[in-house]
């Protein structure tokens, strides 16, 4: 347990901060860290604006934008009509003007009406205009299940976006990473989908829904610099070094995997991908070559999920180092159920079974 927590401490090499370093730290949950990222960026750059359903006066249904409208005014932080297509289309136009919009889609499950604007417009504008126009947009959206959200508040649609050329996909797993990655995404001149694992907004989740929940106050990565810093996009993080196998995960599943490994007593190397596109292929290759075994864990549905891409990449690049077939642990190819949520969720039981398989022989 001790080694596990130690390894979750932010690596100073991750932090890109101005000279003199961040001004100090505070305990934050993931919501507060995300709020702080937007606050820092709005203070630094007058072109950063925040918009979305209920994000203004109210501060968002998850409170991620609380206090920002009072601080930066209604023309920089505002509520929008309930039209995701409109929110992203307007953000593309604002980006073309020269602003740096940070639109919120209230739940990832509601992002589909905006798909055309994201896939055909934001993601391709730089290419199709040969750089005349760009889309420096960061789309924040809570995703994932485990909160009894039913099929319309639980989905993990990251694989839809990783399939699209021209858009980056980022998923943090701690408050520290959430703030640093969000700042990097906002500063990035390309469109970024920033999926926030809402199950771990308040604390890391070990996958045991029937046990008491933890909060970030006891977790080292809940200690977050109050000022500016960023974590480079496209860099994975080894959250637990190990020799026996490589586990590739992101978001909530990073914590579930850590708990499973600790209970099973397996010396796994757990890699938190943090950015799916661009992917940190070097970290993955180095780890699998060392361990010879690979397990991929995500909550999203299985077929054509991002795990399929990871599995293909590991097979292509590390085949001769593999000692066992790659294991994929995922949600099922069903809608996210309500009452059977914990049967759907790839929790300790399913991960544990896959672990036995990949460690056999």
């Amino acid at each position: 347990m001790g080694a596990q927590i130690m390894s979750a401490i932010p690596d100073p090499a991750d932090i890109i901060a101005p000279e003199g370093g961040p001004d100090g730290t505070a305990r934050m949950n993931m919501i507060q860290a995300i709020n702080s990222a937007m606050d820092v960026m709005m203070a630094r750059d007058p072109d950063v604006i925040v918009m979305g359903e209920d994000v203004g006066y109210f501060g968002g249904v998850f409170r991620a934008t609380a206090g920002l409208q009072a601080k930066y005014g209604k023309t920089r932080v505002f509520d929008t009509p309930i039209t995701e297509c409109g929110i992203i289309g307007v953000a593309v136009g604002m980006g073309a003007y020269g602003l740096r919009p940070v639109p919120e889609i209230q739940f990832a499950d509601y992002i589909y009406p905006a798909l055309d604007q994201l896939v055909s417009e934001a993601a391709r504008l730089r290419y199709r205009s040969a750089g005349e126009f760009t889309s420096p947009i960061t789309v924040r959206s809570p995703f994932g299940g485990g909160i009894f959200g039913g099929q319309t508040h639980s989905q993990s649609p990251e694989g839809i976006f990783t399939h699209v050329s021209g858009v980056k996909t980022v998923i943090p797993s701690t408050p520290f990473d959430a703030k640093g990655l969000l700042i990097a995404a906002i500063e990035d001149n390309d469109p970024t989908i920033f999926f926030e694992p809402k199950r771990i907004y308040n604390g890391p989740f070990d996958g045991h829904w029937d046990r008491p929940t933890q909060n970030w106050s006891q977790h080292p990565a809940g200690e977050v610099p109050t000022g500016y810093y960023k974590i480079e996009l496209g860099k994975a993080k080894i959250v637990r070094p190990g020799e026996a196998l490589t586990i590739l995960a992101y978001g909530t599943m990073v914590h579930v995997c850590q708990a499973v490994i600790a209970e099973a007593g397996v010396d796994a190397e757990i890699i938190d991908l943090r950015t799916l596109v661009p992917l940190d292929i070097e970290a993955i290759e180095a780890s699998v070559r060392k361990t010879g075994r690979c397990m991929i864990v995500h909550e999203a549905t299985r077929t054509s999920g991002f795990g399929s891409e990871l599995s293909a990449l590991v097979q292509e690049r590390c085949f001769y180092h593999l000692e066992a077939p790659i294991e994929r642990v995922t949600g099922f190819d069903t809608p996210y159920p309500h009452s059977l949520e914990w049967a759907y969720f790839p929790g300790p039981v399913r991960i544990g079974e896959a672990l036995k398989k990949v460690m056999k022989d």
């Binding site: 307007v90 604002m94 040969a130 005349e132």
Partner: protein, 429 residues
């Protein structure tokens, strides 16, 4: 489970499917199209609230009458110089279209789209807007670039995807992007530019800028969700934006009835959103100019958005890939009751004593020569299919600002394959 049989005491339902009035071979009679006399529609003050002139969404703003006189409150009273400049731009657009259509037929490019009969919609708007105002066009507003004086050679380079193409051969012909001329990158996806124009306009307002945005779509694409999202956003934030709906009666082979034209006008879409709506004779350059100038003044004085329906007719096919003879009567274009926009403006100038047929004919010859000269120059940069005009490796540029490893890897793979194949395609270095 529903019964297989209708309930005997109830009349069975029937599904209505619209059908255009005329199909190939039919004699065209447009007498049912209501064309009110020019000059009759009132012109509200630009500060008036939209709810006070909802009737204008059902009228037809017309300035040029049948004798070529400019009449009524919408007459923009333009100088003869401006009128002649507008006429020249419209005639240049038509000459450009003719030449590029032919270039496609000669196999010099893959695709072209004419705007014949709709020249006034884009050209007169460009004259009414400020050069700094931002346009979010659809694919039939080449008149904006021509009227803003943009280089035809540059446009043709794009059409040919040649080595002078500012878009590096990445876009379908005519999907221009010219930031310098306030012309946003055209998308092939319909009406996506609508909310983008609103976003640009909102940004301009939020920054205390003075520039406004204008956008165009066809009547067919008003059915897209983007159109309605844009109207809602524009209404809510009173965005300084002008929505233009070019009602040219046809969306490829679907007549305007499939976008709802049998039930109401497209200008009337504005009413539900509480934004100003105008319905304008799109073949009357002065009416288009006046409506655009009026809408621009509203936008510039924080009165919010205006939706203008331009009632016009698509004289040619949808594109070079379309044969309208397959689905509509060939007689429609000549029978169109609002005439030809170039002829009407020409007749007006002649009626004013500021132009004559001989000068017009001479101008047509001059413009055709100008286009031909531009074409020759553009073709020195190559035509589509004759060699590779962009270095191979540029295929991967601009997906992201910085190329990530997976694209670098795919690029290296492509270059290695091409080298092995012996195909003599150029590299950047």
């Amino acid at each position: 489970m529903a019964s297989d049989l209708p309930r005997a005491n109830l009349q069975p339902l029937s599904l209505y499917v619209p059908e255009p009035k005329f199909r190939p071979g039919d004699t065209v009679d447009f007498t049912q199209v209501a064309i009110p006399p020019a000059g009759e529609v009132r012109r509200p003050d630009t500060a008036d609230r939209a709810e006070n002139f909802i009737d204008l969404a059902y009228e037809l703003v017309r300035v040029l009458d049948d004798e070529g006189k400019a009449v009524g409150p919408w007459n923009p009273r333009l100088s003869p110089e401006t009128l002649r400049a507008m006429l020249r731009s419209m005639a240049l657009v038509r000459a450009f279209d003719e030449r590029m259509f032919r270039a496609q037929r000669q196999g010099k490019t893959s695709f072209y789209m004419k705007c014949t009969g709709e020249e006034a919609v884009a050209v007169a708007a460009a004259f009414a807007l400020d050069y700094e105002d931002m346009c979010f066009p659809s694919y039939r507003q080449q008149g904006l670039l021509i009227a803003r004086g943009w280089s035809m050679v540059d446009m043709m380079n794009q059409i040919y995807s040649n080595k002078g193409d500012r878009l590096q051969g990445r876009q379908l012909p005519i999907m221009y992007s010219v930031k310098e001329a306030g012309f946003f990158s055209i998308s092939g996806n319909l009406a996506t530019q609508y909310p983008q124009a609103v976003g640009w306009a909102m940004a301009s307002a939020a920054k205390g800028d003075t520039r406004i945005a204008a956008t165009w779509c066809g009547e067919g694409s008003t059915a897209e969700g983007d159109f309605h999202s844009a109207c809602t956003f524009a209404s809510v934030y009173r965005a300084p934006v002008i929505f233009n709906v070019v009602n040219n009666q046809w969306a490829i082979s679907s007549f305007s009835g499939f976008a709802g034209a049998e039930s109401t006008t497209f200008a009337a879409r504005a009413i539900g959103y509480g934004i100003a709506g105008l319905r304008v004779d799109g073949n009357d350059a002065l009416a288009v100019y006046a409506a655009t100038a009026w809408a621009a003044e509203r936008a510039r004085t924080n009165q919010g958005p205006t939706l203008i329906e331009h009632f016009t007719y698509r004289v040619e096919g949808h594109s070079t890939s379309d044969d309208p003879g397959q689905y509509r009567s060939a007689g429609e274009a000549t029978a169109w009751p609002l005439g030809d926009p170039i002829t009407r403006l020409k007749d007006h100038l002649i009626a004013l004593g500021e132009w004559d047929e001989a000068r017009h004919a001479a101008q047509d010859v001059e413009l055709a020569e100008q286009v031909k000269k531009a074409q020759k120059e553009a073709e020195q940069n190559g035509i589509l299919g004759h060699g590779l005009h962009q270095p191979l490796d540029t295929l991967f540029d601009g997906v992201f600002e910085e190329m990530p490893w997976h694209l670098r890897e795919q690029q290296a793979q492509m270059l290695a394959e091409e080298t092995a194949s012996g195909r003599p395609w150029a590299r950047k270095s």
